[in-house]
């Protein structure tokens, strides 16, 4: 089969603008979802280590539920199914008045999905602090809340930084699934360029390179955070 190359296509309007818009939407989806994932993920992760049986059960159920259904299907459930199951007035608002429902549902969907993975990292991070610290905290008269606030969480926070870096990369990559419910993020835009120009290889190359650059930025940024957070005198070096 013949393929006619035309790399210039990437730098002319409107296609150049489409790529930039793609990067923008990828960052908007991934960034907003990351906030949700951190908030829910840390809560669920802490719950899974609490003494309360009830809290642990809820945490486990959340993780099991969100980790065993494909993300694509989860997005479909949020976008197509949830509005139908809501009370009539709320469902009506979602379907008629909410601006850019595909954006909000992909943010919530991706956020809740990633939260389950974050929760596992947080749990592992807290458990790796060790039972000794927990016991010592209790023995010195700290309440459970104080033990978490002053001993366990500050130490666990350092443990989870490296796995958080890979989750941050995952959320950027997974944000590409938003295209299935109509968000024109980076992958979606490159597909659109292909559909308009038939320059598929150029369009996919551009998107691939842009993803690699985003990845590099996240890795560099997280390195800085890790270095800042290092506890002096430990083996960890920035």
């Amino acid at each position: 089969m013949q393929y006619r190359w035309n790399w210039n296509i990437l730098f002319v309007e409107p296609y150049f603008g489409w790529l930039l818009a793609g990067v923008k939407w990828t960052l908007l989806v991934a960034g907003a979802a990351w906030i949700i994932a951190l908030a829910i993920g840390c809560t669920i992760g802490v719950m899974r280590t609490l003494p309360s049986r009830m809290a642990r059960a809820i945490g486990t159920a959340y993780v099991d539920l969100f980790r065993n259904v494909p993300l694509l299907l989860q997005l479909f459930l949020w976008y197509f199914v949830l509005p139908e199951l809501l009370p009539a007035s709320l469902g009506h608002w979602v379907k008629r008045d909410l601006a850019m429902p595909e954006y909000w549902f992909s943010v919530v969907g991706l956020g809740c999905f990633t939260a389950a993975r974050i929760a596992e990292q947080v749990r592992a991070g807290i458990e790796s602090v060790g039972h000794g610290q927990r016991m010592t905290a209790a023995a010195s008269g700290l309440t459970t809340a104080q033990a978490y606030r002053y001993i366990l969480l500050p130490l666990a926070a350092r443990n989870v930084l490296p796995p958080f870096t890979s989750e941050a990369l995952n959320i950027i990559k997974n944000s590409s699934l938003a295209l299935t419910i109509g968000v024109l993020e980076l992958t979606g835009q490159s597909r659109q360029i292909e559909a308009n120009t038939f320059q598929g290889i150029e369009a996919l190359t551009a998107a691939t390179v842009l993803y690699a650059m985003l990845t590099l930025c996240v890795i560099t940024g997280m390195r800085v955070v890790e270095r800042q957070a290092t506890i002096p005198g430990t083996l960890a070096r920035g």
């Binding site: 089969m1 393929y3 099991d64 539920l65 980790r67 065993n68 259904v69 494909p70 993300l71 694509l72 299907l73 989860q74 479909f76 459930l77 197509f80 199914v81 139908e84 199951l85 009539a88 990369l169 950027i172 990559k173 997974n174 590409s176 699934l177 295209l179 299935t180 992958t187 490159s190 597909r191 292909e194 598929g200 290889i201 996919l204 998107a207 691939t208 993803y211 690699a212 990845t215």
Partner: protein, 219 residues
């Protein structure tokens, strides 16, 4: 809220079952190919030859830094161009998944190989085995055994990821569900049912893996 009609699922079941079989076939082939290729890459990455090791590292890092959907689109576009004639969505999806997952499997196998003590390799070489033989008969069987739970966990993820072939329209379980859902205008029933099926499969599979893992730590 409309009333739910679950009979649509039993009507469409033969079609959905075919999709599920396609999903399993894709899983089995991509898993076999991915683990094989991944092991090879891991060995190359740990080999004494610097340039070869660097190439393997580049391969793994490149594939791990782009989204799976992009990889699927890439091969959907490239495979027919390379071969010179259109190939089915199954072939291009299978190639995409095998190569993509081999990057992840190779990281697992690398950890597995590195976990085997140096003495094993030394002993094998001392008995007159070549490096190839030492890997083939001594190191890899142990690494594979030790890493089985992790490889299986990755395969559960692969099974979930296989739903992404939806974007190129391969009739796996997910796509079949989508087709029936839209044709019958029964999105709620179909998508909830699909979630249930995926959940049951993946949850029980991960339970089995966990059992296996617990048994291995005791042994």
């Amino acid at each position: 809220m409309r009333y739910l009609d679950w009979s649509v699922i039993s009507h469409a079941w033969p079609f959905l079952w075919q999709g599920l079989q396609t999903s399993f076939l894709l899983l089995a082939l991509a898993m076999a190919g991915g683990i094989l290729l991944g092991t090879l890459i891991a060995v190359v990455r740990l080999s004494a030859s610097r340039p070869l090791a660097a190439v393997a590292a580049c391969y793994v890092n490149a594939l791990r830094s782009i989204p799976l959907i992009m990889v699927i689109f890439w091969f959907y576009l490239l495979v027919p161009l390379f071969i010179g004639r259109p190939v089915g969505t199954f072939t291009s999806a299978l190639i995409a998944f095998t190569l993509f997952e081999s990057a992840y499997y190779s990281e697992i196998m690398r950890a597995g190989i590195q976990g085997i003590s140096q003495g094993q390799m030394g002993a094998a070489l001392a008995t007159g085995m070549s490096r190839m033989q030492a890997y083939r008969y001594v190191v890899l069987p142990q690494a594979l055994r030790r890493m089985t739970p992790v490889l299986l966990t990755q395969s559960v993820a692969l099974f979930q990821d296989s739903s992404l072939v939806y974007v190129i329209g391969l009739h796996d379980f997910m796509t079949s569900v989508g087709i029936v859902a839209n044709r019958e205008a029964r999105l709620i029933e179909l998508y909830l049912f699909a979630a249930f099926v995926y959940f049951v499969i993946c949850f029980s599979a991960s339970r089995v893996v966990k059992r296996l893992q617990d048994r291995m730590t005791v042994a």
